[in-house]
Symmetry: C2
Subunit: 510 residues, 2 copies
């Protein structure tokens, strides 16, 4: 119902909205202009597929939830307790009803995005309990931080979604936290978002709040959320995640099925071996979504860290993660499923060169993989333990650069550029040529957070490093923020719902 | 000629060499395991080729050297003064004799590398007049810095060459500088290297010094150097570079023909337009090498910065540079030529997140492009104005990661990894499995310069950022350095030659 779009706007409010549109432009989902990269030969791909199917047929996978196991039994799988063995014919039949792409509708239709079939969305980091704040302090995240990151995602052109658990607001008790996070996502941004997934009740509350904003009927035919179900490698889907997945899939809302894999610890110490395992895990999750509702959108994905066999530490941004992302992209195209990876990941504790190397190298591999839902594209630090404001500022600009990279080069002005070559005298410059004057503002990216000035100019400007520039940028963004319009009746209804549920939860907790 | 390899080694010296072999392993040239990425359709490729040919046929290109212009005239080009117009038949005939790959022989045969046909070599940064030293001071580079970077390249496994002008040793006068740089390259490392290119005499001196080490006859049939000829966009090759190119090509030594392009200033403000121009420039240079000696190895390349149309600053690491690198890689494969790009480039003044983002993003594109000679893979700062010791330490490890990435995933242990999946109980870990014990040391990269520890461990270790770890690493490397063996007769002959030439140059200068 999106009443916000149908009201007449006048005077100050209209001017403010015009300003907003101008200031806070958002990019559509990336419509990929780069070719795909296939690391596997056809033979290797089929060997990988066959190995994956044999894992599900012979070893099986545990769905640690009675209802889910029963759903599998009724669908024709061989079920013993929570152990489910799935023949490939059944699995392939189930995933065949998953749409290869879907649209996520935003409460502002201009922010509606397509995902899959060559379309990619960038989404901020998810779930950190800690923030590195604007004073450089490392501390527990709060609801204020959560609200800030919702505002920042709203303002960032290359963030296609506001995100989900932007940080864990540790100052709000766990039973009530999801209500405030959902409220923040709905209030401070008008982009698509992720629902809460810690069990059935939180998913149902999320659905109720979404119904208040979008209307119940609208939701039956429109996907507005994509939520995250983490799998437990090796080969376990647990009740909490399955309960949330059931709620969302039955409401035609999209789910990411993402094994959470520590490569070498919860998988074999082998890139191709672990690929077969996590593919089996993700496919089983995606297939399960179709038992809940055939045709519900679902995403095949993973979260990965390779484990250092020296220290036991999970490592972000290693070449092996790049390989796995690319392998999984090829498998996603084979299965005709949208795919999820993680983007600007780093293990670094500070926003230093390590953070830059790891994040950019990892994200480039994700871009090459063809992933459609890229989580963790802004703010990610310490292998997801912490979220940095400064890195968020740098990352959102990096994602604009990756977006441009992913569009590929344009041949539209080729002939006029050749004319410029004909006209300019050998050894001269092009600064005054007609083609240059026409194209200079758009031909090349001009990232503002990256300092390209001479040493002398940079020195005169205060010798700020990227981390310091990031802090300043966030301060300015939060200062410039203006809230997207939300009907006051909707806002009231949301607050009423939260109050009612808090009271129920509080009573139940007694 | 390579006497160093034929002498008997005994006692302390032999033990020392055994240690060296152990400590300072070097990787062979990368034998690419990733598929290529072609940004142009066949139609676009042929349009690009045709446009490039038309530039050389109709507008022409200046070879600002009488002898070179005369060589073109004799070959059948249309020459007017220094302006050379080259028909496509002539150009394509000339480049057809360029080998698609060649071998660079090192004085230690274990360091000999192949370049082209899917083989890629990583080479440190080139030509900075400034260093950021181990105390963090930004100052003029000296000969001691040059020697240090020769030692470091020798010790770095993924540096396939020592490099060329590792830094500009500003404490040695320009007329004599090349002699000391060549001596350092020959003495402190045993990897292949780049010759000096500022005119005929410096190239001839380089050749003489190389003859002392390798023997005159050996050089006639063995390429030991690849040297850099920068072109001046738009469409100029100058006398200094051509004179050096003539010397090297006539001696069967390889040349990089690299237009030095400020995109938008010395080229059209268009990715595809500038591609046509710099391809024409590079192809004309490569073709020229075959006028000097048919069959001489030559590399098609470029150095690029996109120019900020806001500030006029050259920008490193932009998405447009990635596109151009990939386009040029596709053209190199079409022309069957080895290709040169620049690797870990950044505009940053400090080793911060900007340095990491730009270098890694740029290098990833270079890797995808299929470039065979990757210059500037270590130390590069400030758009080539400065060289950082700390970044050098980080970059050489990053290049080991890129090397591994470029090899692609291995399927060799697929079946045994699948066995491990069969064996490990659902929900358990793989740490004790036979496959893990066999593969844990090699399955995943474990970069030592990247800190993957928990915040608490990192904090206990002194809270060092990547820049600080880089400084410490270089201090340790320079402390651990041991010189590769060079026959004392050769060393004496080199010093005699330098003394003789210095005396001649000194007299001539009077």
């Amino acid at each position: 119902m999106l009443q916000v779009q149908t009201k007449t706007r006048r005077g100050r409010s209209a001017r403010r909205e015009a300003r907003l549109t101008k200031n806070f432009d958002s990019l559509p989902a990336l419509d990929r202009g780069l070719p795909y990269i296939d690391l596997m030969t056809d033979l290797q791909l089929h060997k990988m597929h066959d190995a994956t199917m044999r894992i599900l047929e012979n070893k099986g996978i545990e769905f640690r939830d009675d209802e889910s196991a029963e759903m599998w039994r009724q669908a024709g799988a061989t079920v013993s307790g929570h152990l489910v063995k799935i023949e490939r014919d059944l699995l392939l039949k189930l995933i065949s009803t998953v749409p290869s792409s879907y649209t996520m509708h935003a409460r502002n239709p201009e922010r509606t995005v397509k995902l899959g079939d060559g379309h990619t969305c960038f989404v901020p980091a998810y779930g950190s309990p800690i923030v590195i704040d604007l004073e450089g302090r490392r501390r527990n995240a709060t609801m204020e931080d959560f609200n800030n990151f919702a505002k920042l995602a709203y303002m960032a052109p290359a963030m296609h979604m506001t995100g989900g658990v932007l940080v864990e607001p540790m100052d709000i008790s766990v039973p009530k936290r999801h209500l405030h996070m959902m409220h923040s996502l709905l209030k401070y941004s008008d982009k698509p978002f992720m629902g809460m997934v810690l069990g059935r009740d939180k998913a149902l509350d999320s659905m109720e709040m979404v119904k208040i904003v979008f209307g119940k009927d609208y939701l039956e035919s429109h996907t507005v959320m994509t939520s995250l179900a983490n799998g437990n490698s090796p080969l376990v889907w647990d009740e909490t995640m399955l309960d949330a997945a059931k709620v969302y899939a039955r409401h035609n809302q999209a789910m990411l099925f993402s094994p959470f894999a520590l490569c070498g610890a919860s998988t074999p110490a082998s890139v191709v071996g672990m690929m077969a395992q996590i593919s089996a895990e993700a496919l089983a999750g995606v297939a399960f979504s179709q038992l809940c509702r055939a045709g519900a959108p679902a995403v095949y994905g993973q979260w990965l860290a390779t484990v250092s066999m020296q220290s036991g530490a999970p490592m972000a941004g290693t070449p092996e993660i790049c390989h796995i992302n690319m392998l999984m992209g090829q498998l996603a195209r084979f299965y005709k499923l949208p795919m999820r990876c993680s983007g600007m990941c780093t293990s670094s504790k500070v926003v230093d060169a390590q953070a830059g190397y790891e994040a950019a190298r990892n994200m480039y591999g994700v871009l090459m993989s063809g992933a459609n839902f890229v989580l963790s594209t802004a703010g990610y630090m310490e292998g997801a333990m912490a979220q940095s404001y400064a890195k968020y500022a740098l990352d959102i600009e990096q994602m604009e650069l990756f977006y441009r990279l992913g569009k590929g080069p344009s041949f539209a002005d080729f002939d006029s550029a050749l004319d410029a070559i004909s006209e300019v005298k050998i050894g001269n410059h092009y600064l005054g040529s007609a083609h240059t004057l026409e194209n200079f503002e758009t031909a090349f990216s001009m990232p503002a957070m990256m300092d390209h000035n001479s040493f002398e100019q940079w020195s005169a400007d205060g010798e700020l490093n990227a981390n310091q520039r990031g802090v300043n940028k966030i301060k300015k963004m939060l200062n410039d923020y203006e809230e997207p319009k939300l009907d006051s009746g909707i806002e009231e209804a949301l607050l009423d719902f939260i109050a009612q549920r808090e009271s129920e939860i509080g009573q139940r907790a007694l």
